[in-house]
Symmetry: C2
Subunit: 346 residues, 2 copies
DNA sequence: ACTTTCTCTGGCAGCGTTTTCATGCCGTGA
DNA sequence: TCACGGCATGAAAACGCTGCCAGAGAAAGT
């Protein structure tokens, strides 16, 4: 006496499709997922599915197939420009491959924050770790989670790592300044704070020092001023530099965002960039062009895409990554108007 | 002869927990989810769960409970600042309440883009629509999806809507200029492009016109220049304005991002802000302070949080929203250094 | 002391798919 | 012509968990 389920308000299930197509549920399932089914039956099934607007219930698919078709992305701060770009680029690739993305947001970049290993395992098939999502050791711990993982940024020798060579990028920036004649160069570096990435920060410092050394510039003139990462930190660092006894002729900022803060302070102080002082950044932030900031660009979206592709490979083949897996993408110098030769120095 | 499942490599299930705690699976389930269980048993169960590092498999929970504990967020462009802020703020609230977030990214803001209704229904319990995720009618179509939904931004009379009063915000900006003596005021507006929000754009134009009218300023002097939304569009619009015969003494930009582009053009043109021309924006973008831009602030994170809270309410009570549900949050004028009285006019 | 009511408990039936597995069928080679 | 491999098919068994239900005690009321 109860009406057939398909007549009631319930969402259609695969059995409804099967019944309408006059096949068994197994066949319907196979037909829908592209399994081996005779052409006429496949046709009937697809037609029935379309007619009922059938969409498989994810939870059921996941339970029975044992795969979630979801990948987790672990980031320290979901708002920061770099992470946003990486994540959305990765998301597009993964989504096109039929995967959903679950974002694990570190909240406010608190150190040591990590999603529960168990939660991760119970919700996703694999994860993308975006560097500094945790301290380096925490990151490695997560990698041992028995969940397939790739890493964006962070230490260079990790398998499945996608990133750039921060050290050589920083060196490029400094060489650019040196070639123009600068000798007194300061660096504005991040120290703490949301979005701060210890690994890339120290690599960039190393590149700074290395390039100066290679140019035969005494280490003494290489002042590195550290402040909390971000625009405000950049401003604070610049103020510190302005307060010093002898102004550098050029400043290399660890990130464009810190450079922005520096530019703001310089403008307020009445100094003109680049006439009075040159400023160079790192990242090629979307606002860098607006500030006319010369900078070292890193391919941000490409890193996200590369990570996604690597992950798909990893998921596809089933096995673990071959040890050499991973990509290091190139950085490139973008010359804009915030750098010129030092005045009256040569 | 097969070893008990708990000894093999398999992840522990609730039956393993139950066995270890010497209770039935039902009791284990109740204990873990905080149901009515006697203290000693609850204790045994929790201890067993901890010992086994048990985490319920999401797919199974979802299938059997019929709820996904996931909410979808539909945005036109996942990268744009406003959406990022809204989404992460909402995510934190929802996550704290035990919900996962699934982001449906419009890709590149293509008009008419919408996630498949069926997909949505099969993956989430409810959705947050962020305005202009679709044309207004598409948005309403999505609302009729039979999935509980709240909306951020968009038309004001929609139930379950969270947002600000764009019209009065824009009027505030213009009044500020008028009070300082400006009479020739131009508006830079968005027309198309990724991240462009038709509804709020036209409300802001209306506010602009209304405030001028209220001040008795002839409509003729109220030039509105439309360009694709964003920094580049703002620059293009400013160039158009500079090319005109008589310069306005002040410019109101529909969004801070467009104002940034305008400021860049003005600087390159050798005009000084605010001495030669005043600029006021809308949004209080995170970079607005860096540009020293006077602007009308809207509480972005608050909108995300409010949407999340509203959604939780909606999910909690089971029923549909009461018709009056929704919040309109206040905007506020942030006075910085990009506006001053017009020179030589009074 | 005897109901009645309430609280806690375990058994069991799903939840909607996918995935064996066994079957029947067809074509192919001997 | 007969046996055999391969393929398409449907029945039924998972997948791991949460409802629902009925029963067992304990508490409370008469």
């Amino acid at each position: 006496m109860t009406p057939p389920s398909v007549l009631r308000g319930r969402r259609p299930g695969i059995v409804d499709v099967a019944r309408l197509a006059q096949v068994s549920p197994s066949t319907a399932s196979r037909a829908i997922r592209g399994g081996a089914v005779s052409p006429d039956r496949r046709d009937r099934v697809l037609r029935a599915a379309a007619q009922l607007a059938y969409v498989p219930l994810q939870a059921a698919v996941r339970l029975s197939s044992g795969r979630t078709r979801t990948v987790g992305v672990v980031v320290p701060t979901a708002e920061r420009w770099f992470f946003v770009e990486v994540v959305t680029a990765a998301a597009r690739v993964l989504r096109a491959a039929g995967y959903d993305l679950l974002i694990f947001d570190g909240g406010h970049g608190e150190p040591g924050w990590l999603p529960e290993a168990g939660e991760l395992r119970s919700k996703v098939d694999a994860v993308v770790l975006v560097a500094s999502a945790a301290s380096d050791d925490g990151m490695l711990a997560l990698r041992d989670l028995a969940v397939p993982a790739v890493v964006v940024g962070g230490p260079r020798d990790v398998p499945g790592r996608v990133g750039v060579d921060d050290e050589s990028g920083a060196a490029t920036a400094v060489r650019h300044l040196v070639l123009l004649g600068h000798r007194r160069i300061a660096m504005i570096a991040g120290g703490t704070g949301a979005g701060f990435d210890r690994t890339s920060s120290s690599a960039r410092r190393a590149g700074f020092r290395g390039a100066l050394e290679a140019a035969g510039i005494p280490a003494g003139s290489a002042a590195i001023v550290s402040r909390p990462w971000g625009v405000a930190g950049g401003a604070a660092a610049m103020e510190e530099i302005l307060g010093g006894d002898r102004l550098p002729t050029a400043v290399f900022a660890e990130s464009d965002e810190m450079a922005f803060g520096a530019l703001q302070v310089l403008r307020r102080a009445g100094l003109e960039v680049p006439r009075d002082i040159s400023v160079i950044g790192f990242d090629n932030h979307e606002m860098a062009a607006v500030f006319d900031l010369t900078t070292v660009a890193q391919p941000v979206a490409d890193q996200g895409r590369a990570a996604a592709v690597l992950l798909l490979e990893l998921l596809g083949q089933g096995g673990p990554l071959h040890p050499g897996a991973g990509v290091t993408l190139p950085t490139s110098l973008i010359v804009r108007g915030s750098v010129c030769p030092p005045k009256g120095e040569l």
